[in-house]
Chain length 322, copies 2
DNA sequence: GTGAAAGCGCTAACAC
DNA sequence: GTGTTAGCGCTTTCAC
């Protein structure tokens, strides 16, 4: 790896001039030429580590998500990446597994790597975002909010819970259960509150056993659906508060030979890679990618020096079918 | 962000001693104590950028994949991450979109960031892996091989193509078409060669129009399936050479009211998040995660100094149902 | 076992 | 415009 000194020597200029050329300052045309030639001959690429040490910052953004294998979060990541790339920033994707320890670990890394900023879906744990914020590194929370005064982009979770549940009642179902994520995660709480509101108002009867907490993955949805089917008086429809749990629920139904038209299903989120026809299941589309681009835009603003008080942007879901 | 000098001053030792403590050299117990206390009080985290500049290497591995939104690659990434984490390495995930330009860009970044090594699914373009290899950074190709002499982990693609096609003939289908990925991508070529071999031997008739190239995504599978259905004499079954194209094909069939039992479907790969019962579609399971752990293990060996000639590990798929 | 000091490659004052 | 130089925070000889 050639250095700026070797390029300078070969081009007959000082290292500073080489640096200037690569950083946009004006350099006389003839010197610029010979520097470019020398750089090409030596296959020179500026050493980003040295630059970062000197500048105390980099063009790297960290994105911390709970699960890279969940299409909701990869779509979100895609959005962040698109926006970041436009601005010349690269993305470092980190998987927290919803483990506060891992979240903290990656936050430390982001700080000690002089990354320009962090976008994260905070875990339920009480991780100190103050530390990194105090370093002057902007932080944006996405999909979930935090007690810390940082920017946030989220979904109107109560509304999507209401929309999904409402779609089921509109279709004629009356005993609507809910498969919710782990207790303690904000997005889930708000979504099932939406369900409870509608289910209580329109369902009439009591909701005993109709709320099932589960982990946010396919297997969580499976076991919750199984428990619902074993109820003395099972529901005639079910709402899930995320995409993957719906997959699990639908798998259990398919294996039991029950079609989603017999036992209604509505999802908060999008059924990933579904091969069902669009009208089989009510889906409340969540703008995952847009969540990402919005968060990235906010972060880039902050990196650019924007210092207004923390904002929270709320995005809306959209009922798609059913 | 506190520095090693501040910690040293507070603990009444030299910076070198602080460094030694954090790097495993022996330091007398009393000094170690006061250093630890000082570090804790100052909330000290070693600056990784400075360390890297000095050491000319880092505990970072780059993983370049074509599509973060494809569950095959996220599973692979998960495997790499698991193995890397065990060894104290962190992962930087980069999306190439199968664009040689982006691949090259990220390779440059990996080099100029002093990353410890690179694992990549090479694009079809002729990107120079020699440059980074010459820098002494190990490179492992995964899922696809390259003309460069680097380690590789791949699938026995011909065998999985044969297995998927064979399953369809075993189930009684006779006019078996193939939806293959873009021409020029090795994995696809080999898989469809497997299909052709079996289809020719067991299908008898000619294969005119039965080979459809498409992009590797859901929409590619959709349009290819549509073309197949419009054939004067359509196939009675279809093999797809990756997971996402199968989703597209199944969507088109579902919309046309054709069940996968009428028109047989076999997939090379795993149907992601499927809600179909396991017997509906023949799937040749691809050990994506294992591909990742294997590649990571090889890379870590190389980082550790292993210098045997490049190896290629071939993993096998496994017929799962149908 | 510990300290002093050089240097990794770059950028940004500061002179000219 | 361009060169000289200091220094970002760390690790690592080299003495002691």
């Amino acid at each position: 790896m050639a250095t700026i000194y070797e390029v300078a020597a070969r081009a007959g200029v000082s290292p500073a001039t080489v640096s200037r050329l690569f950083n946009g300052s004006f350099v006389s045309a003839d010197k610029a030429d010979s520097i470019r030639r020398a750089a090409a001959e030596l296959n020179f690429t500026p050493n980003r580590t040295a630059r970062r040490l000197r500048k105390q910052s980099s063009e790297l953004i960290a994105l911390l998500i709970p699960d890279v294998e969940n299409p909701f979060f990869t779509a979100l990541a895609r959005g962040v990446e698109d926006r970041a790339q436009q601005a010349g920033f690269s993305l470092v994707l980190c998987n927290t597994d919803d483990d506060p320890g891992k979240e903290e670990h990656y936050l430390d890394i982001a700080a000690s790597e002089q990354m320009a900023g962090v976008i994260l879906t905070p875990t339920a744990g009480e991780v100190d975002l103050g530390a990194i914020a105090a370093l002057g590194r902007p932080v944006v929370a996405v999909d979930r909010t935090t007690p810390y005064p940082v920017d946030a982009v989220k979904i109107d979770n109560r509304a999507v819970g209401i929309a999904a549940t409402g779609a089921l009642f509109d279709a004629g179902f009356r005993r609507v259960a809910c498969i919710a994520g782990p207790a303690g995660i904000e997005a889930t709480e708000e979504r099932y509150l939406g369900w409870r509101e509608v289910a209580t108002a329109r369902g009439g009867g009591d909701l005993d056993g109709f709320l099932q907490h589960a982990n946010y993955r396919v297997d969580g949805g499976r076991s919750a659906m199984q428990r619902l089917l074993e109820l003395p008086v099972p529901p005639d429809a079910v709402v899930t508060t995320n995409n993957l749990m719906a997959v699990g629920a639908l798998q259990v139904l398919a294996e039991a030979g029950i079609s989603p038209r017999e036992l209604g299903v509505a999802v908060v989120g999008d059924l990933p890679f579904t091969t069902l026809t669009p009208d089989a299941v009510a889906q409340v589309h969540l703008p995952a990618r847009h969540l990402g681009t919005t968060a990235a835009a906010m972060l880039l603003d902050r990196i650019g020096g924007d210092s207004q008080p923390p904002r929270t942007v709320v995005l809306r879901g959209e009922l798609r079918a059913g």
